[in-house]
């Protein structure tokens, strides 16, 4: 690194710290003046945003290990670094436990008189909720340490055994991942309206998680290439990211629409009201953004073969997906506050806080290890990989 880039990076860091501090002050203001419900709703949206992008990245790392892909090895350090959002989001989610008595109706005294909620108490009770939260957090941190820290250690040790161990452990992570993401979806999002029920909701959150993980990886890879790093990564490598993104944008649209259509068709009162709150009135334009940002824009950008090799096409598609994932969480969580979408200074302040924290965490992760997993014995295969 030249002294110029060192200085500019120090400036960037100071800007991020200032942004975070500003956001922290603003967040305190939100709690006092806008009320705890709005504060915790914001907190939940942003924590889940960081957590799902982190988990999506960790899933990508594990998926590469599981299927033995070579093309993604030169880029693997990017999702490994973005996965550092998991250790950031875990304490934030533990703090969000304080939001449970504020936002979650099954904890309210009235719930004792609601036969539907009484029937769900074996799952929806505070001790079990806390146990699930802690177990999920521990599992995520363990697998983060195993996959990411292990990969960083391999940079020095060049230990080929780690590659074998990672491949053997990846299938177990898949199982853990599916269960824990489903638990997050049920506990933290659909638990906000506990009378509602959808089998598919866990898969829906998983689709958004994986999709935004791919998009974040694409943005990271293209960002590094633009800064003159990762010079060995060619268009043939990120072409495949575009292909994965295309496949999973269809998957997301399929799952999202299937969930909507089944509930729309059956028209059961306790189910359909959840969508009524989200597609009627002022929420309608927000709901329209979801298929636009998460499906139509990335799908038509990425469907061609050649466009996937152009960085700007992939970047726009990835930005659309990440933004779409945020709108998705906002659309899932904010309707519990009321029939109007709330977007004002409290949201801006909380955005500053969490974006600042997220980028600072990724910056910190970028200081660790080389830009490529230099200790991976299969790295050469990945670099030589041909389309």
């Amino acid at each position: 690194m030249t002294s110029d880039t060192v200085r500019s990076s120090a400036v960037n860091r100071n800007i991020l710290v200032a942004l975070t501090l500003l956001g922290a002050v603003g967040a305190a203001g939100v709690y006092v003046s806008a009320g705890p419900a709005r504060f915790w709703a914001n907190w939940l949206v942003w924590t889940l945003f960081l957590l799902t992008i982190g988990l999506g990245s960790l899933f990508l790392v594990a998926l590469e290990r599981l299927v033995g892909a070579h093309w993604s090895i030169p880029m693997r350090r990017v999702p490994e670094r973005i996965a550092s959002l998991v250790p950031l989001a875990v304490p934030l989610l533990l703090i969000a436990f304080l939001a449970v008595p504020v936002l979650f109706p099954w904890t309210f005294p009235e719930a004792a008189h609601n036969p539907i909620l009484v029937a769900k108490t074996p799952w929806l009770n505070l001790p079990f909720f806390a146990i699930r939260l802690v177990v999920c957090s521990v599992l995520w941190l363990l697998y983060y340490a195993f996959f990411v820290r292990g990969s960083l250690r391999q940079d020095e040790s060049k230990d080929a055994n780690f590659t074998v161990r990672a491949r053997r452990n990846a299938p177990f992570f898949m199982v853990v991942f599916f269960f824990t993401v489903t638990i997050v979806a049920f506990d933290w999002i659909s638990g906000l309206e506990p009378e509602w029920y959808s089998d598919m909701f866990g898969v829906y959150l998983f689709a958004g998680t994986f999709l935004s993980g791919i998009a974040a990886m694409a943005l990271g890879v293209l960002g590094l290439i633009r800064r003159g790093r990762l010079t060995e990564v060619k268009s043939k490598h990120f072409y495949n990211l575009g292909t994965l993104g295309l496949a999973f944008t269809v998957f997301y649209a399929y799952i999202g629409f299937a969930q909507y259509m089944l509930i729309w068709y059956a028209n059961l009162p306790e189910e359909v009201v959840w969508f009524k709150h989200r597609i009627e009135g002022a929420w309608y334009p927000v709901a329209l953004l979801l298929p636009l940002l998460n499906f139509l824009i990335p799908f038509f950008l990425l469907i061609g073969g050649e466009p996937k090799k152009r960085p700007w096409v992939l970047r726009i598609a990835a930005l659309s997906i990440v933004l779409g994932h945020f709108v998705d969480l906002y659309w899932l969580i904010f309707p519990v506050l009321g029939p109007e979408p709330r977007l004002g200074w409290p949201e801006l302040a909380m955005a500053c806080l969490f974006l600042g924290l997220g980028f600072l965490q990724i910056r910190r992760a970028m200081g660790r290890g080389a830009d490529m997993p230099v200790g991976d014995p299969l790295l050469v295969k990945g670099l030589e990989w041909q389309l």
Binding site: F257, M261, W264, Y265, N267, G305, E306, Q386
Partner: protein
Amino acid sequence: MSSPAFAVLGLYANPQKIVDAAKEIRARKLGHMEAYTPYPVHGLDHALGIGKSRLGALVLGMGILGTALALLFEWWTSAVDYPLITGGKPLFSWQAFVPVMFEVTVLFATFTAGLAMLFAFNKLPFFGHPVLHSQAIKGITRDKLALSIESTGAAFDTESARQALLENGAESVEVVPFPDWGRPLTLVGLLQIIGAIVAACLAAGVGIYSVQKMLPVVQPMLHMHDQPKLNAFRSSKFFADGRGMRPAVAGTVARGHLPPAFTTPEEAGTILTNPLALTQKVAERGRKVFDDHCMVCHGSVGDGVAMLSRAYGAKPGNLLTNEMHARPDGYIYGVVMLGKNAMPSYAPDLDESDRWAVVHYVRILQRSQNAKDEDLR
């Protein structure tokens, strides 16, 4: 050499060499360049000058066409041609249309991809490629890579093609002639194919039949298939008469099908009056009933002159006579219900309101064929 050459093949053992040679020889423009390799060679399609396939664009276009056609068809059937409200949903419920749109999109796209790839881009059917008749084919399917310069017309120069391949590192060179093909399909061959298809169908049919008859077939999802309900037209041990479907209780009368309180049309004329008020809707219903049931004999204006009656020599009644004018509504109703002369009863086909609607329409026809001056105002 008797037959004209199809191609000159150069054999290579090294994938890099064949890529270099392809680039070099393509520049000389000796003929159409092709390569036959036992495994995919990276960069060879580029060296041969094979551009981007147009298949993708075709598939996308056909896929979008499939989406649009499915949407159009579903809109037309559900909202235009046969509007039927289901589950309280709007007639144009796009949510319900999406699965079919998705399926038709996939259908169009995959069929386009498969069929266009085989028949448009790879030019099938193609009974036996000349290279299959070459000496080199054994090597090509095993460990040799062949670069082929293929004839594009009479001006094909095999000697310079051979030279070009040898200069660019080919291990050996072979001139492949057009093989002496007989007619691809003879009558005997065709009969053999048809016979084989028939035999295969017979074997499959006998096989499936005997498996179903002789082996206990485990049905999937028994809980859906065997339900403790009674099916119409099936037997049942539950009831004494052994029938699954219950006959109606004696004396049951369907709505709109009350048995008549008269025995002749004349009697009906004295006791019945038309209970339906004449509205636009009733008149249109009457016209539909008349056109569907009466017009075939009584003619489109009710004058008793119709194509069918002429063909059969029948003499249906003219509904426009003064006698018919004078008849009361109830008489016409009675004829519709009981029939007259050769005309059968229409009571099973038309319910009460349809019969009265057609009575109105007969009156309209009579009026229209004998219009007064004030009708025109």
